[in-house]
Symmetry: C2
């Protein structure tokens, strides 16, 4: 009888026990209004007695739709991604009777991206897709729509898909305004390479807004005071040393992310520059690290963004709502000790 590994009781066992058909058991399990109360009770009793638990795999196959949600994230350990994911996790586990399972895909190299998208989309093990911070191609959207697979973007903007984003250009402006108000005029920037293998654009958007705001104030973002590198701490530190090694170093630096800002701080320390006396530093994101080191930063609601994106996805899955809405989240400057 028990073939593979000790499978538990099935719907048929319950049916037998309750003296009804499997169809009826299924109806009770799915809260169909068709079943009369006494029958329901018998079925429920049988379920309890047998310790029956529904096989989600069979259900998925029969229904043609999964109860899991696929989440694709880059660099699983980035603080901002984790913070977003936390919002997603919190939301997902709260939904529906038993919530959605969360299938996690980490993309550590550009090539893995395509694999993840295809795996998740085509194998129909997933009721929807949440794509975090990874630019998506039109061909991929075509594929998703062909499969009628709901998808939501988080921290990525594409006109054809619902998305939760932030106005990065505006964020750059806020950073500029803050530094300007502090009286700085020789201001530097440390961010990602304008072009990168993933197609990330946040850093560039922030820099553009930053530069534009400086110009509007009669100042400018001197190309000589800009440095670009990988989005990590070490690299930001190196770039900062080079910036501070100049004959007339900047008196303030805007880093495209908090992680990079931490690198900037290290660079300042290494070069013997006091923060904020010699050079002020402002980051972007407001990850937990920012508070810990006392970093002034542009806060974006990371956790909330995950919650909102999850909500959008659930709406798309359960109610078929998939207008490509754009939810733009609020940015605020959080002043701490580095400016």
């Amino acid at each position: 009888m028990v073939s593979h590994r000790g499978r538990g009781p099935t719907i048929r066992d319950v049916a037998r026990r309750a003296g009804v058909s499997a169809a009826t058991v299924s109806r009770v399990l799915n809260d169909s209004p068709l079943v009369v109360e006494p029958t329901r009770a018998r079925v429920r009793a049988a379920v309890d007695e047998l310790g029956y638990r529904m096989n989600a795999t069979a259900r998925t196959l029969s229904l043609g739709r999964a109860t899991a949600v696929g989440v694709v994230v880059p660099f699983f350990t980035t603080h901002s991604v984790i913070e977003r994911l936390r919002g997603v996790v919190a939301r997902l586990s709260g939904y529906g009777q038993r919530g959605y399972d969360l299938l996690l895909f980490d993309v550590e190299a550009p090539a893995q991206r395509a694999d993840a998208m295809r795996d998740l989309a085509d194998r129909n093990r997933v009721a929807g897709l949440l794509i975090v911070s990874l630019p998506i191609f039109d061909a991929e959207i075509d594929a998703l729509q062909r499969d009628e697979l709901p998808a939501v973007l988080l921290d990525v903007r594409h006109p054809r898909l619902p998305r939760v984003v932030v106005d990065n250009v505006r964020g750059g402006e806020l950073a500029a305004e803050h530094l300007l108000a502090k009286g700085h005029s020789r201001i530097g920037f440390v961010g990602d390479h304008p072009t990168n293998a993933y197609g990330f654009t946040s850093s560039e958007d922030r820099r553009r807004g930053f530069g534009a705001a400086l110009e509007r104030a009669g100042n400018r973002l001197d190309p000589a005071l800009q440095r670009f590198g990988l989005a990590d701490r070490e690299e930001a530190e190196v770039l900062t040393r080079s910036l501070l090694g100049r004959s007339s170093p900047p008196t303030a630096i805007f880093a495209a992310s908090d992680l990079q800002a931490i690198g900037v701080l290290k660079g300042c320390e290494a070069m013997g520059a006091r923060v904020p006396e010699d050079v002020a530093v402002i980051g972007f994101d407001d990850v937990d690290l920012a508070e810990i080191v006392g970093l002034t930063t542009i806060r974006q609601p990371l956790r909330e963004s995950g919650e909102q994106a999850a909500d959008l996805l659930i709406a798309a899955i359960e109610d078929g709502v998939d207008d490509p809405v754009e939810e733009v989240q609020q940015l605020t400057v959080v002043e701490r000790r580095t400016t």
Copy 2:
């Protein structure tokens, strides 16, 4: 034809196209040696032409075993957990033809723990379970073994299950030896409540080893210099203030985790105590934060622990290896600026 949402081609479509039976297609897909080469080629061609992709759900149902691995973690955002998870993720995606999917369960409250275990174990959507940092009950192990569900523990010790752990008692000793070598004699401790709803014991184990080593050196861990609270930063800060508010405050503090050590550092700052001049601080874990703030700490290989645990689980799943081995990882003290 296409009923639910545009399902892709099935094995039958491929069979028709290749002029063979579905059974043969299945065999080719599963690399059965039974199929002769010319047939294989035809099937492969059909697969390509149709863009066929196997339905993992159907396969799981038919085989009675899943291709996903369930990972249960507490407090998804704790740095140490994330770091471990990263190792798991890296390992899982590398295995087999297409690797294992990762089903993530976050336990934010003790009650969720049971739900997660049951959901994952019973619904047989998962080929194995990786339990991180969460103590497991005998009844749960019984259930797992009844279902023949492979399970591996990470940062938890139970004699009946394979596990990857660290010797926390020894870690405490290392911390004591380090502080003693620095000439400290009035030494405090900040850690978790000895009893907590999750049953975590790391903090207590570390404290015990710490106290024992002090005594062995003719010193002792004065109960008046111990403080217990939740495993978070804010609480550790509050506890530290109380410790430093004493008439004869400790000259060194061992925190049960880096996160708590950061709180200790904040507490020192708030009380105007210089680190390490007035009070030395040592943590435990060596999460990324530790390096960033220059914290001296007891390093445990977090990422590697995830990799090892994943390896054990895969071995259990694929080769049926499930002797309850215990892999004990190396601890080292990393001296930075706080001692």
